[in-house]
Symmetry: C2
Subunit: 888 residues, 2 copies
């Protein structure tokens, strides 16, 4: 079997091993493919992974044979490029790179410009006509080689380089002259000799053989081993080695370098797009010293630029490049991002890959390509990153508006918003009522602030992470939010704040960008999203291919409307408690909680009943005909009680109970771990009258809307935090009892189901028993993650960042389902549930319902629907379609 | 097939159906068995459960046949007793009772004295010579019959009875004369006629047939249905009906009634034991109006009582009774508790069952019976309730001491203790240091109080349940504790309290009994437990039969000593954090926590190191050669920070940091749900230097003790709150690194293992991965229960009682493992763990390690050991033996 595979123009191996990543590595396979389809890649060869393993087993036995094969592959390069390795006049230089089966970024080593020595560097200087370039190339090579191959600490050379710049009073590498660099190389040689007791190797063949050996050995470095352990990569894979001719775009006026896209990556328009520089290397573009030129005449003209486009300056090369663009799109069936170099009029393609693009461009390119007949609808769906749609769905800052940045925090909920700063929810409510746009600015938010968050255009907090209360609620509402802005300090007494040293009084205007986390002074203009033809087209395709339904988590009429516009097929989670914070209701709610006996409680509940009923009427009207899953009261009661002195005083006046007594009752209700406390169905078990009121409100509303519209109303009553079948059974009986009473009073019957959230590990473990009672399960993955992992979302900030950095969790488990842990419970519950009740309806209503990876997981385990916040509904539709396609 | 089975003296059916509880019910089978072995039971008959089901299916078709069989069975009774049913002169009376396959206490109905009517009541009066007795028997019959058979509300008759007493100015039923009762019966008849439109039935055959039908029907009552659903009893079982002759102990001087034990139930001595009353009914004993007489001459003499013993007064009957005692013990192979009645010189045994006994008696009886050759060792082990041993292991109140009860709370940790009241842990420490016995009295306790709890003789709290901090810690330490004493109110400022209205100043003496929950004034004398020969014998037997090892949860030298005396075979859980609360250490600990950088933290840790090391030295010395599982720091750091104003001031002086800054840091560390917060190995991951110090202390101590004693030291390092294999892996590397350093310094190597607690659902779910790293698992069932059920132990008080009352959980899941939920995770983790590492050591160290039902579960799933608090070690040894025997 071959151990070395050549690649380059005109080479297309019959051997399937040349295409096998297991044999030639990922990079080797890509280079081979580019050559095979006729791209002018700089020629080179790949030494197989098997050879790496042989080498690591026995470092001597293979070397002679390998040397022979390498030598003959090198001759292939020399012939193709027309230069010879080690030639004193116009030397062939090569790169030596590792290339394992999968990409291991930064984990392994690379050597560039190999083939330079004290003689060939002069040849390079002559042939390039640029002495400084030649010596700098040599300097880089010596530095890389000494570090990678000879194992000398990189810092020794960096220090010498720094010292050289200091001695010459310059700060940039580019300010060192050819002579400076030559002197520096002399110093480098001194370091090498002192460290190794031998001079730097001048024999280019020895350089190459040692570099190949060093890349093989890098597979066994500590760094690579750790990386493999973290990523589950077996040590037996080994790495391939790629040796490739160096090409230079700075060998005169017929040389150039550039980057091109086959279509416009910002807009998606079908037009070549790119930049190039004559007589330059890639790094010159990066350094930003010279202004890049446009690729096409059209683009140059549109921009009014003076420097000639490539189309004008190198028309033959441009024509060849354009031909390759077509070839590339036809082959890869996607918009490509290409790096190219022209060396003395000869075009080389260094790299091609699918180009990054904006969400807007992604949609347009996908739709165009389908219409061009280039790709199928399924491929178009697969190609769009669902998460990127978020960019399209929220208002964004007008990119042309001038701005003054005050500071920044975490991009907690996307979209941009401007408004007057307010420091509490009540003020937010009052000023919003007067028609003002407000930004609610808080240390952190609590459920007490919900009414303020609802009316605010955006939310800004000084504390809290991406999964803080503010962040979660804001995302749910689709309100832009910046959280954890550490440069923000608030003085609630003075009703003012400082952001990045700037004083902000209540009422001052600011703008926040929840997509970037930035905070700006004043009201910047924002641009509303335009959901164009391409968006609608892709969504329609997605709907055609997905198996799962997509619902929304919503409880306000406004959110319900938005969700329906975005294509929600029902409500998966309507949280009734949010309804209790609005306006006067909170006082009735507090009266209910403070009741010392059932009668007092009933009086307060009677006042809440019509309010709840009217909420449900509006929701049922909007969701006509679609299922609405209503979760009964869930949070611990003390969340509804006052916190501040003034709130206590106000409540005392409203309910006629002394402040001291109120405070005592609030203290009694306080819990050490409210997350695991008296909440969810435990409230329903101990205070059945609360759930009775809620269920009555639901059924009365359902009857009213059903009568009024003649359309079906489909309530699904969801009991939260169930851990045993018996809890659900008791509460289901309560629901049925109330339903019978209401239907008798109304002379009307409405179909409904009773089910539960699966949000405790125990519920998942006994899901077979629970399914005997519950007609549906909705996985409450927020709480299920908290309990399964034993991590409080509110407190996780202290260590979760560190946990993700250290690879303990690959992703934030509150953002993307922890498949190995939480996922295992969900799978078990789904299986057990179906064993008892084959047609049980299964869904998910945690934050994960809007996360594409989690949606794919839900699809794999066979859930019937996912439920996402309104603004994530399109994302969920697309992700569900992708997942369905992946399964076929 | 027979539908009616007679029983009584001389009847022993060949038919195995007569012994089958499924056919004749539990009570019917027992009565049959008693008769079969020759006991003089009042004769009667049982109608099968099948007949009940026939009846419920078709109420008419069967009645004629059944009537015939009943009639002939009744004749059997009449012949045996020598009275006739409905006889006007000396009527046979019968009881009619339900009797299902399993006991359903209070769920079904009973009718006594059936066979009375306006004629036979006069016959009963004549034959008994007690007119009041006759009319009262009739009154009771009418009342029961009207309620059970005729379905008239019981309250109607109770009201009439109350009114009759009021009218006659008396308060007790017994104060009503025969005439009063006759009048009352007249009123009862009026109620029956008004309600039913028909007179009370005077035909005794009709009475019997209707009573049997009513018992059948009671199987379908709502009450019975609910009971069945709660207890998983199938409706298809049906109930049998037992009809049995009434016998009366109050028919003159040759009649009597009594209760007897075949051995002394208090001491276990082999001596007949019991009480009797001549010419009396069972209820006379209960009413306490007459003083019962001793059964034996020896007992009467010992007590110096005047009234004759039964041995003297009714020698023939006594001889017969004594003969039956021997027969009973031989047959049932256990000490029996017997109810008997003598009717006109004829002895009837009404009931026999295994007698309740004290723990001391249980041990003595078991050992004696083995020595007598009556039972085998295995039977002796099986028979002793492990939980009852608790009575023997703690000091108890001297039963003879006079006492003044102040109030009571929950019996949170057994044992009695006296001492001076102190209201805070520091005062407790100071006064205990001076040699005073103190009782720590707190609103509730927190980890800050640990040092005070350690030095106190007992703990009393006003708040908190059986699983509050005080209760759990006190049980762990073996300190008596009364928690949640609602009549206790404390004024910390005034340093005084009130208990049940009595003022208690600091320093006043009180006594608490943690076994009963009682609080007494003054210092009552207590008696230390004597662990006698029988205790040692039974423990030795248990050790011979158990499979699992028994370890202890202990971290103080005193606890370790106690546990070894009680037979602990190692430490399963040594909680290092408890060591940080003692004396000055808390200040070093606080300095460590408040450190703003690694260096400051290291300085504080350096001061803690020698303290930790000396703790471990003492523990390793005591546990010589036995394994010691040390859990690294687990609780959230803020638990160590001050709470009160004065503590902050004190700390500020000690560490030289302003109070404000300290308070700010404490606030920063506060968590919403500390249970799910930054604790356990999450501390080790973020602050590795804390674990490094602890591990260094362990290994330095192990080396020192190993060198000093020449004995092996067996440390097992346990990493808490692991959720992923990677966390454990990282920390295991830390442990190994420190071990290598210490062993190199010490020139000595100590064998050790590294493992983890399985206390998060996720850990159980990925136990296969974790077992690749961890060498042992210890199930931390306290936290595993909290997370799996989503119930905070600290907050469960609000609803857990209600949950247990409603049958949602059969037992408190923090006391006895929730087998269906938590148990499923433990089983899964044990299986997955062994799949990866066949010899992984598995144990349990939650509170459940001392609960017999949980120990049986641990045995079933194959754990290697259980670990219990020191005082529960004997319980665990016995429970483990019982479980091993159950498996064979």
């Amino acid at each position: 079997m071959k151990t070395v595979y050549t690649f380059g123009p005109g080479i297309a191996h019959d051997d399937s091993r040349a295409r096998d990543k297991a044999v030639v590595g990922g990079k080797g396979a890509n280079l081979g493919e580019m050559a095979r389809i006729g791209l002018p890649v700089p020629p080179g060869f790949t030494i197989t992974t098997e050879e790496c393993l042989h080498f690591l087993r026995d470092r001597h036995s293979q070397s002679a044979r390998l040397d022979g094969e390498v030598r003959s592959a090198l001759t292939h390069i020399e012939r193709t490029v027309g230069k010879r390795f080690g030639d004193r006049h116009d030397p062939l230089l090569v790169s030596v790179r590792s290339g394992a089966r999968v990409s291991m970024p930064g984990m392994m080593d690379t050597i560039l410009n190999l083939g330079l020595n004290d003689q060939t560097v002069r040849g390079l200087a002559a042939s390039s006509g640029d002495e400084r370039f030649a010596w700098d190339s040599y300097r880089r090579f010596v530095q890389m080689y000494a570090s990678v191959v000879l194992g000398i600490d990189h810092a020794r050379f960096e220090d010498a380089l720094e010292k050289a710049k200091e001695d010459r009073g310059v700060s940039q590498d580019v300010d060192l002259s050819a002579t400076d660099l030559r002197d520096l190389i002399g110093e480098f040689f001194g370091i090498v000799e002192a460290e190794r007791g031998a001079p730097f190797p001048q024999d280019v063949d020895e350089q190459l053989a040692s570099a190949i050996a060093a890349v093989f050995e890098s597979w066994e470095s500590d760094r690579a081993k750790v990386y493999r352990r973290l990523n589950g990569i077996p040590g037996e894979w080994g790495t391939a080695v790629n040796v490739q001719a160096m090409v230079f775009g700075n060998l005169g006026e017929t040389s150039a370098t550039g980057v091109a896209f086959t279509r416009n990556p910002a807009t998606g328009d079908k037009a070549y797009y790119g930049e190039w520089l004559v007589n330059a290397q890639g790094e010159d573009v990066v350094a930003g010293i010279r202004t890049p030129q446009y690729l096409t005449l059209a683009a140059r003209t549109a921009a009014g630029a003076k420097l000639p486009s490539m189309e004008e300056a190198l028309p033959a090369v441009f024509t060849e490049l354009a031909r390759l663009f077509e070839l590339l799109e036809l082959h890869y069936q996607d918009m490509q991002d290409i790096e190219f170099t022209v060396e003395r009029g000869k075009l080389y393609i260094l790299q091609t890959r699918s180009g990054k693009r904006t969400a807007k461009a992604a949609l347009k390119i996908a739709v165009d390509m389908v219409e061009e007949g280039l790709i199928a609808e399924e491929a178009a769906i697969r190609r769009i990153d669902p998460a990127s749609l978020d960019q399209l769905l929220h208002p964004t800052l007008d990119p042309d508006a001038p701005r003054t940045l005050l500071g920044s925090g975490l991009p907690a909920s996307p979209g941009a918003a401007s408004g007057a700063v307010v420091f509490d929810a009540d003020t937010a409510a009052v000023r919003a009522e007067l028609g003002e746009n407000v930004i609610l600015v808080r240390q952190e938010t609590s459920p007490d602030d919900i009414h303020g968050m609802h009316v605010a255009r955006g939310i800004l907090t000084a504390k809290g992470g991406m999964t803080s209360h503010a962040a979660v609620v804001a995302r749910g509402m689709g309100r832009p939010c910046v959280s954890g802005a550490s440069s923000l300090s608030i003085d609630y007494q003075a009703r003012s704040a400082e952001i990045g040293g700037v004083h902000i009084a209540e009422g001052d205007l600011i703008t926040i960008d929840g997509s970037t986390g930035e905070i700006f002074q004043g009201a910047l203009p924002t641009v509303m999203p335009e959901l164009d033809r391409e968006f609608a087209t892709v969504m329609a395709w997605a709907d055609r291919h997905r198996r799962m339904n997509v619902r929304t988590n919503a409880e306000t009429p406004a959110d319900c409307e938005v969700a329906r516009q975005f294509g929600a097929e029902g409500i998966g989670l309507c949280r009734t408690e949010h309804m209790f914070f609005d306006g006067e209701r909170i006082n009735f709610m507090r009266q209910m909680i403070l009741a010392t006996n059932g009668t007092e409680r009933l009086v307060a509940l009677d006042r809440l009943l019509p309010e709840q009923r009217s909420d449900f009427v509006r929701i049922f009207e909007i969701m006509q005909g679609l299922p609405v899953t209503v979760r009964l009261l869930d949070p611990p009661l003390h969340e509804f009680l006052p916190h501040s002195e003034s709130e206590f005083t106000e409540l005392s006046a409203a309910v006629g109970i002394g402040v001291d007594q109120l405070r005592r009752r609030a203290e009694e209700l306080a819990e050490s771990n409210p997350m695991l406390g008296h909440r969810g169905c435990r409230l329903g078990v101990v205070y059945p009258e609360i759930y009775e009121m809620q269920v009555r409100a639901i059924f009365e509303a359902a009857c009213a809307v059903s009568r009024e519209t003649g359309q079906p109303v489909v309530p699904e009553i969801m009991i939260p935090l169930v851990g045993t079948a018996r809890e659900l059974d008791m509460l289901k009986q309560t629901v049925i009892g109330v339903s019978e009473a209401v239907f008798a009073e109304q002379g009307l019957t409405v179909e409904f189901t009773v089910g539960t959230m699966i949000e405790l590990p125990r519920a998942a473990l006994v899901a077979d028993e629970i399914a005997a009672v519950g007609e549906f399960f909705s996985f409450g993955t927020n709480d299920l993650t908290q309990t399964t992992l034993g991590i409080s979302r509110d407190d996780a900030g202290r260590f979760l960042g560190s946990y993700i950095d250290k690879g303990i969790y690959a992703k934030d488990p509150f953002v993307s389902i922890d498949v190995d842990g939480v996922g295992k419970l969900i799978e078990m519950a789904a299986r057990l549930g179906r064993e008892t009740r084959a047609d049980i309806k299964l869904g998910i209503c945690g934050e994960h319902g809007g996360d594409p990876a989690s949606i794919a997981f839900c699809d794999r385990v066979g859930l019937d629907y996912v439920s996402a916040s309104p603004f994530r509904v399109p994302i969920a539709r697309l992700a569900a379609a992708q997942s369905a396609l992946a399964a076929t």
